[in-house]
């Protein structure tokens, strides 16, 4: 099985990994805060101008199939999605809550920092229970612009095989 998303052995030493992990944890906290409070139009600002953002099932990722539930090439496309969802889309009101697991720093090199972070997305609908909407993992590549970390690539790869109805907000 070819698995583009298999975690490779980490090549960053423990001390450096701890430093980078702290930066990434801070990044994630801000990213998730924006999404969980529904401030969608801020979301593209976490990415570089030409970043790739994709949400796809683990079965697709493991088989090298390129499709995305969401497939954005570049911050402009993310902006269009954010505006569409925030201002034009019809869906029932909902809360989203991201619960993140441990950040794993895999590599640091000229292309940036490669890291993975598993997470659970809990969704709550009006008069509905709070349910596990996605069991997923961020497969990230970060770069620095000045002091700031930005995502050059984020693949949201979800184990969840059958989605409950839909996925309204980015994850």
């Amino acid at each position: 099985m070819t698995n583009a998303y298999a975690n490779r052995p980490a090549t960053v030493d423990a001390a450096r990994a701890a430093q980078l992990r702290a930066d990434i944890v801070t990044f994630h906290a801000e990213y998730c805060a924006v999404l969980d409070r529904g401030d969608l139009e801020q979301w593209p600002l976490f990415f570089t101008e030409d970043a790739l953002y994709r949400i796809t099932g683990r079965d697709n990722a493991e088989r090298g199939l390129p499709v995305g539930l969401v497939y954005c090439e570049g911050r402009a496309m993310m902006h269009d999605r954010a505006v569409a969802i925030a201002r034009t889309q019809m869906f029932a009101p909902r809360y989203a809550m991201h619960l993140l697991g441990q950040v794993r720093v895999e590599a640091e090199g000229p292309a940036g920092i490669v890291a993975q972070t598993p997470f659970l997305l809990i969704q709550t609908l009006v008069e509905g229970p709070s349910t596990l909407h996605l069991a997923a993992c961020y497969h990230d590549r970060f770069v620095r612009e000045g002091q700031q970390l930005l995502l050059a690539e984020r693949h949201v790869v979800h184990d969840t095989n059958i989605l409950a109805n839909d996925l309204a907000y980015p994850a």
Binding site: G68, L69, M90, A92, N165
Partner: protein
């Protein structure tokens, strides 16, 4: 949340009548009673009379099982089946149930095998579902074992008839269903062949979601062009599809069970909307523009007047040709209140890398997170909740009165009318005031 996680909202008992009480209101063409979506006994009857009746059911694309031994799990109605490429190169479809004790033996969504072995007692089946081996068939030390007259040939997995057209695989339980092309009818075959030209397909990936609504609602939604310019504010806001566009709502003339909803994109990226039409469309905003317009590019690759078609093939297939994003949607009914949708997105083997990426970008329109798909899913969920829980019991389809089937306007429910006329006949449902 999944349908099974509902906290508030049991189906009202009045909405779950036995079959004998399922009598359509007298104004049959213009009404749909709620129990069509909510009766469990009616649902069971649909499995028998429709999905296991005289129909061809979509099960797979040939591109998913290109080599001998390739297989995938699939469904006919709610019944799990295996689709496999057999030794002779044909595609076989058989029930995913061991003839011995009923285990669903094929567990992987896709794979490659020489044979299928049930893990419970290791009965083995060939790639067509024929029973090959039964361990200890003659017992041990001349004790036990199967009866002498047990014949493997009489105990295979249940096999279905198979038909393929240009890389698309259909299966049927019926011995009497007409050949596939005849089943589809000529206009549907023509649109089918526009997407499936015979050129090799390349699968780009899958989506899967549960829609907490009745399976027929999905057909209706794509036979309801009225909603497209109203619900889909994205289309409206960005002027992509508006009530004035050149369009079609076609229903097959023979039965009214299949349909094509099509529209032609104007040459301009953003359509212009007349002041009169604007007033009817609450969600229209002048002046919203995309920052990345590549998303709206349309590469004219098809021999068709329509840039967008959504084709409903009874009873379980949607073929999506939304500009350049192509896909099949496979409806798996899951009780009266739920369906599982399996989406297979594809392009063609000869696509350039840039064309493939274009299809992927445009894929943002469709699927469980698509700008259009998301809203359809939400709307259908709202309808299912409404019909299950309300005190009244009838839906009204009055637009474009007197027309049944193909409509000349988007502001029409004529194709839904035709679908339910056919449905009543197949299901043997009585209409109030008519003789039994």
């Amino acid at each position: 949340m999944y349908q099974c996680q509902t906290v508030i909202g049991l189906t009202d008992a009045a909405k779950d009548p036995p079959l004998s009480d399922c009598v359509w209101p007298a104004d049959a063409l213009n009404t749909i009673p709620d129990w069509v979506y909510t009766s469990r006994s009616l649902y069971d009857q649909e499995m028998e009379k429709i999905f296991r009746g005289d129909t061809w059911n979509f099960v797979a694309l040939e591109a998913e099982v290109p080599k001998v031994g390739d297989y995938r799990r699939s469904y006919v109605g709610a019944t799990p089946v295996v689709v496999a490429r057999a030794e002779d190169g044909s595609v076989a479809v058989f029930e995913n149930r061991c003839a011995h004790r009923g285990a669903e033996f094929c567990r992987n969504s896709h794979g490659h095998a020489k044979e299928f072995v049930c893990p419970y007692h290791q009965w083995s089946y060939d790639l067509k579902g024929n029973l090959q081996g039964v361990p200890f068939k003659r017992g041990v030390n001349k004790q036990g074992g199967m009866p002498r007259d047990f014949k493997n040939s009489e105990h295979g997995a249940r096999q279905l008839r198979v038909a393929t057209r240009n890389g698309v695989v259909f299966a049927s339980y019926s011995d009497s269903v007409e050949p596939l092309e005849e089943y589809l009818t000529p206009e549907i075959v023509k649109e089918f062949d526009t997407t499936f030209t015979g050129k090799k397909l390349k699968v780009l990936g899958y989506y899967r979601n549960e829609l907490p609504c009745n399976w027929k609602m999905y057909h209706e939604n794509l036979k309801d062009p009225y909603h497209a310019t109203l619900l889909h504010s994205f289309l409206v806001v960005f002027g992509l599809l508006v009530a004035g566009n050149k369009s079609t709502m076609f229903a097959d003339a023979k039965h009214g069970r299949h349909g094509i909803m099509g529209s032609a994109k104007s040459e301009d990226k953003y359509a212009s909307v007349s002041e009169e039409n604007k007033k009817e469309m609450r969600s229209f905003h002048d002046g919203l523009r995309l920052r990345d317009e590549r998303f709206l590019d349309f590469v004219r690759e098809f021999d068709s007047p329509w840039s967008v078609t959504m084709m409903t093939i009874w009873p379980n297939l949607i073929v999506q040709r939304e500009m350049n994003t192509l896909g099949v949607r496979h409806i798996v009914p899951n009780g009266p209140d739920s369906l599982i949708m399996e989406w297979t997105m594809f392009g063609y083997e000869d696509d350039t890398p840039e064309m493939e990426r274009h299809r992927l970008r445009q894929g943002n329109l469709m699927g469980p997170a698509g700008f259009l798909g998301l809203e359809d899913n939400e709307a259908m969920k709202f309808v299912q909740e409404g019909v299950r829980r309300s005190s009244t019991g009838v839906n009204h389809i009055l637009l474009d009165p007197g027309t049944v089937g193909t409509a000349d306007t988007l502001i029409s429910e004529a194709a839904i009318r035709a679908m339910y006329r056919y449905y009543r006949q197949v299901m043997g449902l009585r209409v109030q005031g008519e003789a039994a």
